[in-house]
């Protein structure tokens, strides 16, 4: 048995080697780097240097506030929208179901740069379609990218557009796993369709909803593309800077890898903590 295990590990060795060098070691090394002062060469061990700075850095708290704000508003809106889309996609009344499923899923496939460019054009102050639509119903144009609140709204709308369909497809798979005869039993029990949704569909879909929520939380904690490309590096004036963007700015523009590593570990820690709280709050009663 031991010999067989050894043989198996020998076969696994090439993978384990590459995995260790390019995945495991960077994770460990970045953790070690977070305890080093990296603004000057040579780097030196200074445990409080980055972690201490984190606690008092207004830029970090600004990025944290922005990230959490997007998380708190965008994730629930997107999940709700995804549930509605999944229910509609699951409806036997819907024609051309395959086409709609593809259409809702398609945003994930679109290149990030392309979709960001389209969003910038759509929300352009002078000739964007969104302002044109607002004007057509008598509302004034909004300068989406010069003010913080509209800029945050654009990011939330963009992220929701991109990922709602993806979550809807996951939720659809969950919906389809609910046996039809449970609904038939409820119909015989004179339970209305609306009550069936709230008392049967939602509770039975809960594990999938939690799964989507955790995925979305992790994704939002790492949010980078949209504030980088759509609101031009977290603009206006850092108003949409997220933790992911701050990490990039510190690590790859200021080449301050120690601080960037500390931010990265904070992001991961927060994502794990929020996900655990979420799982605990929605746990199945024994």
């Amino acid at each position: 048995m031991r010999y067989q295990n050894a043989t198996a590990y020998r076969f696994l060795a090439p993978y384990l080697l590459i995995f260790s060098i390019f995945w495991l070691w960077p994770i460990i090394d970045s953790f070690l780097i977070s305890f080093q002062a990296t603004r000057t060469v040579p780097w030196r061990f200074a445990p409080g240097f980055n972690w201490g700075r984190l606690i008092g850095d207004p830029a970090f708290f600004n990025a944290l506030k922005n990230t959490l704000l997007i998380l708190v508003i965008q994730v629930p809106v997107m999940i709700t929208l995804a549930i509605v889309m999944a229910v509609l996609l699951n409806s036997p009344l819907l024609k051309a179901r395959g086409l709609f499923r593809f259409a809702f899923f398609a945003p994930v496939v679109v290149g990030e740069v392309a979709y960001s460019a389209v969003f910038r054009l759509m929300f352009n102050l002078d000739y964007g379609i969104i302002n044109k639509l607002l004007n057509s119903v008598g509302l004034p144009s909004i300068d989406w990218f010069s003010n913080v609140t509209p800029a945050m709204a654009v990011i939330m709308i963009a992220v929701t557009w991109r990922w709602a369909g993806y979550n809807a497809i996951i939720l659809l798979a969950g919906l389809q796993s609910i046996p039809q005869d449970v609904y038939e039993a409820a119909t015989l029990d004179r339970v209305s369709k609306v009550k069936q949704f709230f008392y049967i569909t939602l509770p039975l879909l809960k594990p999938i909803i939690v799964f989507c929520a955790v995925l979305s939380i992790i994704g939002t904690m790492q949010l980078f593309t949209e504030p980088f490309l759509i609101t031009e590096r977290g603009g206006p004036g850092g108003g949409t800077e997220t933790l992911g963007l701050l990490l990039y700015r510190q690590g790859f523009r200021s080449l301050n890898f120690g601080y960037a590593s500390a931010i990265a570990y904070t992001m991961a820690g927060l994502a794990i903590a929020i996900s655990l709280v979420q799982l605990w709050l929605t746990r199945e009663p024994k």
Partner: protein
């Protein structure tokens, strides 16, 4: 309580007709079993009575009232599903009371009904459990309990025992029979298992390919089948069918020759097929006797013997290659590879499977 009547009921899915004009009257308090092979339309017919499937033609009435366009919940029926269809996220108590609670039924009445159902089905100690914490038999009880709390006029069972193991199936069969005696409510039960049909039913409806083949009391179907399909479907092991040829019609009946030369004369009141035409002789396994003690003797080669204790089944083949099963008392079974048996009672079917009486 109420009776159910089906009048020329038709079901079509697009251009495809599944039920071809079924008619049936079920009296109040009767236990009727729909039986037939897979795809015969028995579950579809039950779901049409429940209102879960639209009716393409004809009429379904419950308690004398036509129900074609009545919502399932307003038909006064309760249904027990094959897969139980319990709400997995609710406790047994919540499963039983869900429908009543959702409809604003007074709490005291809901509690009373749930308590009564749980006592009838002996599940009072399971009330706090979730369906996943129950065994198959317990789940089935809860599913039946959910039907009982509705206090319906008619119970509909859609193959309720097919997911249970053999021992539990027998146990639940007895439970359902007891329940029918206790409640006295009309019950319609769908199964493909003819033993369930024989043991539970007041009357059996045998279906095949969307047609009602025969309706009757279990023993009537067994002893007086209308056609070869019913004869073969009812009874276990099934009736043996031996091909034969009509020789002549005499005063005492029609004489046929079984492949292998054995001659058999059957009394016949109706018209007889032309001499020379093909017929099928049906013999139940228990209707083979010892040589010389029946209407005709038949030599067979024994292939396999199954000893079930008191009874044994001899799987044999005739000289013409017809496979037959012979039932014998275990003590009477010898090791002889070839034996001669007599046909004590037989049925005659024409080449279209119709009974010749």
């Amino acid at each position: 309580m109420a009776g159910v009547s089906l009048n020329n009921v038709v079901k079509r899915f697009g251009d495809f007709e599944i039920i071809h004009g079924a008619s049936l009257d079920i009296t109040d308090g009767e236990f009727v079993v729909f039986v037939g092979p897979s795809g015969c339309g028995k579950s579809t017919l039950l779901r049409m009575i429940a209102g879960l499937e639209d009716i393409s033609g004809g009429e379904i009435a419950i308690g004398g009232k036509v129900m074609n366009d009545v919502e399932p919940a307003d038909r006064g029926i309760a249904m027990v599903f094959q897969s139980y269809a319990l709400y997995p996220h609710m406790s047994v108590e919540q499963n039983l009371s869900f429908g009543l609670r959702m409809n604003g039924n007074p709490k005291a009445d809901t509690d009373r009904r749930v308590k009564r159902a749980s006592e009838i089905l002996r599940i009072t100690e399971l009330m706090a459990r979730r369906p996943r914490q129950l065994s198959g038999g317990q789940r089935q009880r809860v599913a039946i309990g959910r039907a009982i709390v509705r206090e319906p006029q008619v119970f509909l069972f859609d193959e309720p025992l097919s997911n249970l193991d053999a021992e539990l199936r027998v146990q639940m069969r007895v439970e359902i029979s007891r329940l029918h005696k206790e409640l006295g409510t009309t019950m319609i039960y769908v199964t493909h298992d003819q033993i369930e049909a024989m043991t539970l039913a007041d009357r059996i409806v045998v279906l095949r390919g969307g047609h009602v083949e025969q309706i009757g009391r279990p023993l009537d179907l067994y002893s007086d089948p209308d056609n070869q399909f019913v004869a073969g479907f009812v009874g276990s092991p099934k009736m043996n069918f031996i091909t034969a040829r009509v020789l002549e019609r005499g005063a005492s009946g029609v004489t046929v020759e079984l492949a292998g030369g054995t001659r058999l004369t059957q009394p016949l009141k109706g018209p007889a097929p032309e001499p020379g035409s093909k017929v099928v002789v049906g013999v139940r396994p228990e209707h083979f006797g010892h040589a010389g003690k029946g209407d005709a003797d038949l030599s067979v080669t024994i292939d396999v013997v199954e000893h079930l204790g008191g009874t044994s089944f001899l799987y044999a083949s005739t000289a013409a290659g017809d496979d037959i099963v012979i039932q014998r008392d275990a003590a009477e079974v010898s090791d002889a590879p070839e034996i001669t048996v007599s046909v004590r009672k037989s049925y005659l079917f024409d080449d279209k499977g119709r009974r010749l009486r």
